[in-house]
Subunit: 147 residues, 2 copies
């Protein structure tokens, strides 16, 4: 048997998007969501409100395919290698989103800039650091496309 790892949801993301199709660029950037951390993890949020941006790690729970070639959501004209996309149908359906942290109240974070659908399971939260900020050089097949 091949090795595998087990992960568990630590919370749930409440936001206004009910389907992927609603998430066009500008709506996504402005979208405000509530991150509900399960009570038993609340202590881990200590010191978080000092950060202006955080990274949400989440489970793409509506993805049911494990593909290596995919048609990107807004640009379906060509098949792309899945690792050159953020498409949900990937070997390990883990999503990442950098959001602005607006407010923390106990186990609830209010954030801006989410791109997942309502009810998405949360897996991890990390602070966004200087080392996560890179001068984007080449954007490959996405060059000139507004994602």
């Amino acid at each position: 048997m091949k090795v595998s790892y087990r992960i568990k949801p630590i919370g749930i993301i409440h936001c206004s998007f009910k389907t992927r199709d609603e998430m066009t660029g500008s709506k996504r950037i402005e979208n405000i969501a509530e991150i509900e951390l399960y009570k038993e993890y609340e202590e881990g949020l200590g010191d978080i409100d000092g950060f202006s941006h955080i990274i949400l790690v989440w489970w793409m729970h509506k993805s049911h395919y494990r593909n290596l070639k995919v048609k990107p959501l807004h640009f379906p004209e060509e098949l792309r290698g899945v690792f050159a996309t953020r498409h949900p149908d990937r070997p390990n359906p883990i999503g990442l989103t950098v959001v602005q942290l607006l407010e923390r109240k106990r186990n609830i974070l209010r954030v801006k800039g989410t791109d997942m659908i309502d009810g998405t399971p949360l897996i991890d939260i990390k602070p966004y650091l200087e080392s996560d900020r890179k001068d984007v050089g080449k954007l490959g097949w996405l060059t000139g496309r507004n994602l």
Copy 2:
């Protein structure tokens, strides 16, 4: 029983760091590593070489504790909420690193800027997009510290 999800390694990261302690800031930024994707996933790398930066998602396989308060590696003087750190001892020990993509040869990627130890299991690769680049405002307890 609580819900959980299963993830599997898709490759392995070969680099020069044998322990966490070796990873000081400047060494990490310059560090060059080889990402070996298992052959069965190679097709998913199509179109990747157009991107200057990619995000590596990896499993912190040397982490054996699931803590909510941790002492950060280079700043152990105070306990911090784990979600305000990148510490490996977290509920779901998933690591993220943005690296520069130097070269692709078949199922091997040569990258610069890794901060994981040799032999780390790879879970996912994503292209680094404009939306991942944020103007870092507040850095919380890390303000003025060089990570």
